[in-house]
């Protein structure tokens, strides 16, 4: 193996086989999957479902960009365009970003990482997945029946009064999906509190668990507020009463408060679990304990708590008082602090480490770059004056795509590649996966960097036509989206291929320290034959080296 790939440690491929008994082949048949209580199988169910919705949401992104290729509205009429970006947003936010890392990787890994046999409530876990699908089908129904054109924010009174679309159906869908995420969060919190193996103290827990724990707090506290808000929207539409509708004595600002009370924290629901992935990947591929472990752990919780106090920065132009705008502007700046702590600590970890560039690490570097840009532009937006100039322009679109797509999606892909050998027992093809990582990065920048400029120049978002002088940048953006699309398709293809033809991965291809790497790949249904007793910190590579030496002497 070449010098840059010193970590990958595969068993001898001529003799290696997958373990005879594992969670995948433990029981056969579709029904054994549909009624499973095994957190690992549920994770796989989620992975398939989420990928499915991701590509539907992606198809809408493609249509949006196609329409914006030319300044004239030549592909679709404006209300169809509105439906496109609404469905794109609703699907990407609620059916992809929110559940992505927690429901797939979190479900799979959290019990194993803390040495438990399963999540605390396996049936509730399965129920979450069904709720996800029922909600997803409602959303799809809204689409098929004629679409929603409120954007993913369901802004009133637009959503309650003026439009005659399938707001109620879509809101019902999102309401149900909300309960799916509440139950996932609840399950994680209880599991982490009550089911850690002996010796697995809070400060021996992998940072992935910490960040999912923090995200779970947000899910449990924030999502119900969204749920009740949507109930009110739906009721208001159905009976025609003003809670939010000013013509009937309601107050649209109330909607804004309730909605953003959820939706600002929701961006952290989306990003925190991704940050957890990045901590694991960076530590493994620089062979170092994450610098400032405790600070990184607490910063997750800090982000979660601060996240509840900044919602009104979405409302600067909506008539909140100057005084409260100022307070919220300052609070918003404060949230940047724990995020920055993480970035600096990752940077320090890298600085001292012996780094190798495996595919997950490439994605993690992508994350660091893109998330930093997204985060910094967020600080611009938190600044009151800037926000008033830039809000509702493409600057916003670029900002949140840098954070969400550049950040979260990179982290998701990093995590999928990192734990793929554990989940399936097989490796993915290395050069293709690196090609995909690089393609994604290039495509991403080509798509969204022009949008910062467009926004700065004043191109508003949510319009299907624009002045001709914006065309060059829009063409660049659409070209980038095409490259990006290829970047996302590639993993789908080669990961699928690897299921059958990938090299046998063995238990610990990355020589990583987490408990999940100490058990077989793919794991047994019960994860551990005997409950492990943990006597070392997370990321303790000396312990690992010692353990491996022992293993060699006893086995060899």
């Amino acid at each position: 193996m070449s010098a840059t790939h010193t970590i990958v440690n595969l068993p001898d491929q001529r003799t290696a086989t997958l373990p005879k008994r594992n969670y995948l082949n433990n029981e056969d048949g579709l029904l054994s999957w549909l009624f499973t209580g095994d957190h690992k199988r549920i994770a796989i169910l989620y992975l398939i479902s989420i990928t499915f919705f991701f590509f539907i949401g992606g198809a809408f992104a493609g249509l949006i960009r196609l329409e914006l290729l030319t300044p004239q509205p030549d592909l679709v009429a404006s209300d169809t365009y509105n439906k496109f970006f609404s469905m794109h947003g609703i699907i990407m936010i609620f059916l992809f970003l929110v559940p992505s890392v927690p429901a797939t990787l979190g479900n799979f890994l959290i019990p194993i990482m803390i040495g438990a046999k399963d999540l605390a409530f396996p049936k509730v876990n399965l129920l979450s997945w069904y709720l996800y699908w029922i909600g997803g089908l409602f959303t799809m129904a809204a689409l098929v029946l004629g679409g929603v054109d409120t954007g993913w924010t369901f802004t009133t009174p637009l959503s309650t009064h003026y439009l005659n679309t399938h707001v109620v159906t879509a809101a019902t869908g999102v309401f149900i999906i909300g309960f799916s995420s509440i139950f996932t969060g609840l399950n994680f919190i209880v599991t982490i509190h009550r089911m850690r193996a002996p010796g697995m103290t809070w400060f021996r827990m992998p940072l992935f668990c910490w960040s999912n724990y923090a995200a779970s707090i947000l899910m449990v506290l924030g999502t119900p507020v969204l749920a009740i808000t949507l109930v009110l929207v739906a009721l208001e539409r159905l009976v025609g009463i003003g809670v939010f509708d000013p013509t009937k004595g309601g107050d649209p600002l109330l909607f804004q408060h309730l909605f953003w009370f959820y939706s600002h924290p929701a961006v952290y629901i989306m990003i925190l679990p991704g940050m957890g992935v990045i901590s694991e990947v960076i530590s493994t591929f620089s062979r170092k304990r994450v610098f400032g472990y405790t600070a990184v752990a607490f910063s997750s919780v800090a982000i979660a708590l601060f996240g509840f106090f900044v919602w009104a920065h979405h409302m600067f132009i909506m008539g909140v008082s100057n005084y409260s705008a100022l307070v919220f502007s300052l609070l918003t700046m404060l949230v940047a602090v724990p995020s920055a702590i993480k970035i600096f600590n990752w940077a320090f970890t890298l600085q001292k480490g012996s780094i190798t560039f495996e595919t997950p690490m490439l994605y993690a570097f992508g994350f660091l770059g893109l998330f930093t840009i997204g985060g910094m532009t967020g600080v611009f937006l938190g600044a009151l004056g800037m926000d008033i100039h830039l809000t509702e322009t493409y600057f916003i679109v670029a900002h949140f795509h840098f954070v969400m797509v550049g950040g979260m999606l990179m982290a998701f892909l990093a995590g999928i590649h990192f734990w793929w050998p554990k989940m399936t027992g097989r490796m993915y093809p290395e050069s293709l996966s690196k090609l995909a990582a690089v393609t994604t990065f290039i495509g991403f920048n080509l798509t969204f960097l022009p949008q910062f400029i467009l926004g700065y120049l004043g191109m508003p978002r949510r319009y299907h036509a624009y002045p001709p002088e914006f065309q060059v940048l829009n063409v660049l953006s659409t070209a980038g989206a095409t490259v990006l699309g290829v970047g996302y398709m590639l993993p789908l293809l080669y990961l699928g291929w690897s299921l059958k033809y990938g090299a046998i991965a063995g238990n610990n291809p990355w020589q990583a320290t987490g408990l999940e790497w100490q058990i077989q790949s793919p794991p047994l249904t019960e994860n551990f034959i005997e409950t492990p007793v943990v006597d070392h910190e997370a990321y303790d590579y000396e312990w690992l080296a010692h353990k491996t030496a022992q293993e060699v002497t006893t086995v060899g």
Partner: protein, 254 residues
């Protein structure tokens, strides 16, 4: 097998065997918990968290209520006078009784008295149903007076109370319209509460059936305990709704 390397502590093996042993004794013991105690703690903790989400859920409604009560104070006063304090008070008493019997039920489960447990669960259910019955009477009355928000809502009573034999002070037409906001919130909040009661009563039937089969008479009481928490939570929500909707500030400026 590599698993062995992580888990070679002799002590754990014993606990694992002990857990295995309990598994046989206690059919309710789920495989993935180490001990019965752990399972019980997890269930209770999960229930508390769930109730926290419920607080946030109702919190949104309370927030809306407080905001509009300030804005449309006069309309809210006049509308709340439309609610019947005797019925509301009767319902409060009924719900407290129901909660009381639920608490006794939890006690009966803990001391493993099957007959008493079933009795108390039935009484809890009975008072729960009575509560909903009275609620239905109140809703029906609103229907007859055209106070259901939406198409048939009628504000003439608030604009011209004398004509209806009421001693309220008349409201300007636009303020009178705001009474709809009150009634909307009234129905949203009590409706949400009633919905929780209906779910609870469904669960009570199921628990009573299981209690009758003797499932909770052997020291396994987590479902009863956790349902008790839920039921008390629903009671407590009502204890906020009753004063907010029925009682406070009925006669401003007088």
């Amino acid at each position: 097998m590599d698993n062995a390397i992580v888990a070679t502590h002799p002590h754990t093996h014993e606990t694992a065997v002990a857990a295995e042993h309990e598994h046989v004794v206690l059919p309710q013991h789920r495989h993935h918990f180490e001990t019965k105690e752990q399972q019980r703690e997890a269930a209770t903790f999960g229930m508390w968290l769930f109730l926290l989400t419920e607080i946030m859920f109702f919190g949104g409604l309370f927030f809306a209520y407080l905001l509009y009560r300030n804005w449309y104070h006069d309309a809210f006063v006049v509308s709340s006078n439309q609610l019947s304090i005797p019925l509301g008070a009767a319902n409060t008493a009924i719900l407290i009784s129901s909660g009381f019997f639920m608490a006794l039920g939890v006690w009966a489960a803990e001391v493993q008295k099957k007959g008493l447990l079933v009795l108390f669960l039935v009484l809890t259910t009975f008072f729960g149903v009575a509560f909903l019955g009275i609620k239905a009477v109140e809703y029906h009355e609103k229907w007859e007076k055209h106070h259901i928000p939406g198409a048939h809502f009628d504000v003439s009573e608030f604009i011209n109370p004398q004509a209806y034999g009421l001693k309220e002070k008349p409201l300007a037409p636009d303020m009178a319209q705001k009474t709809q906001v009150f009634f909307f919130l009234y129905f949203a909040m009590t409706g949400m509460h009633a919905f929780h009661m209906i779910l609870g009563i469904g669960l009570l039937f199921w628990l009573t059936w299981r209690a009758n089969r003797g499932e909770f008479s052997s020291g396994y009481v987590a479902p009863i305990e956790n349902f008790g928490l839920y039921w008390h939570f629903v009671d407590i929500v009502w204890l906020f709704l009753f004063p907010l909707l029925y009682l406070i500030n009925r006669h401003p400026g007088s």
